[in-house]
Symmetry: C2
Subunit: 286 residues, 2 copies
Amino acid sequence: MGGDTIKVVHTIRDMQSHSRRLRQDGQRIGFVPTMGYLHEGHLALMRLAQAHADAVVVSIFVNPTQFGPNEDFAAYPRDLDRDCRLAEKEGVAVVFTPEAEAFYPPNYQTYINLEALPRHLCGVSRPGHFSGVATVVAKLFHCVTPHAAVFGQKDYQQLAVIRQMVADLNMDIEIIGAPTVREPDGLAMSSRNAYLQPEQRPAALSLHRSLIQAKQAVAAGTRNVSTLITAARVEILAHPQTEVDYIEICNPVTLDSLETVTGPALMALAVKVGQTRLIDNMLLTD
Amino acid sequence: MGGDTIKVVHTIRDMQSHSRRLRQDGQRIGFVPTMGYLHEGHLALMRLAQAHADAVVVSIFVNPTQFGPNEDFAAYPRDLDRDCRLAEKEGVAVVFTPEAEAFYPPNYQTYINLEALPRHLCGVSRPGHFSGVATVVAKLFHCVTPHAAVFGQKDYQQLAVIRQMVADLNMDIEIIGAPTVREPDGLAMSSRNAYLQPEQRPAALSLHRSLIQAKQAVAAGTRNVSTLITAARVEILAHPQTEVDYIEICNPVTLDSLETVTGPALMALAVKVGQTRLIDNMLLTD
């Protein structure tokens, strides 16, 4: 293979020896873990990783342990060939696609659990989800041994969990949060947007609109959290096929709920539009 | 400091940069995690680490999260100066002694849990112990980044937990088990032996004697596990001040209890002699 051709690595051993060589050559490794079906948001993560590293590794792994029994693991969209072409165009050095059977062999039994952060937001309706996320990210980190890893701020709670795990477990890895990339109409990019029917688009856009309106309300002097949340709920439920999982305003570090916006505040929400669960978030203060 | 002088490292950052330099120099790092109060058993671990590495790091950290509320964390014997002298004499390159406050800062919340192995042996009477062990060892691994790490077979279940964690989390570290070092009279070396009064010695020796007798019984054809366990219990309880926590014969890999010795079998026991809890184990088959 030529120097420009992307390398696709399937086994843990091969990934570890490739990373060992990169490190021995003095290369700084940037890492972008994904579940594939890459979109513009992922490409932005890769560009940010390029800016922080000499060689970028992208993992593509639809991780079974972060899906609940009634969630969309089997249906989650997959297209490895297209993903590799997109990553190659971005100058990614390695795509790492481990097999689920190798990652979770018989007698697998080790999980990383956080005590506080998963009790909030998505963790409430997705029990075990963040244990699955923390565990698979730690496994991927031990395969890729990155100097820096990039995660999107769209999955804000995931980013908070990873930052906390990396600090708590003394992992020598710089965690970089990347701004949410949006469609021209404001919809946060997500592989799950592929599920949306055209007639569901206005409902999907109500997530971003309600965040913008809350931010404007705070700028105009509204401080009461329940006032802000009620306004968002009204905006979202005005659309058909919407079901609110949660709308929360919380401390951006601990994710503890706030009653009044007096300092840094994150608004985060999860809404089902038809069968598609969408999430979005925004800092209400600058 | 001269090249022969041992380096004592107190902070996580310093340990990580020291290990990074060792790796950049192409040195293979061997690691021996300890809780200090070093004895001949630890020194044997260090010698084994030397044989597998260019530079040996020994950590000395009495880890609070692996002690239960009624256990001997505060009383656990400590002597850092003596420990450093002993390690230096063995040619150890670095002693790493992190502060508990740095290892478990406020808001610390990440724990590594294994689902099956801790349900056996010491895990039954020490809930949370192996979560504390797995977590602190992962933290130490991320500080020291060893190529190989050595653990004593005396803490057999600990060794099994670490092997499983390393495999499950894809840690690129060779785990080496070291044979138990014994006093001339057969007592397995342990820092906790310092608690024993001279008149408790015969009772303490009954652990090893009962293991030897079980192994001889198996060699002579005894296969029934409850027969073997009863004989050991009688041997131990013949001594004053003894209280059996458990005596088990189990599969050496899964630690599942056996009813009959038909293949590989580990006998493991935990006995309180006065206030001192002692453990020991032996493979009954070769």
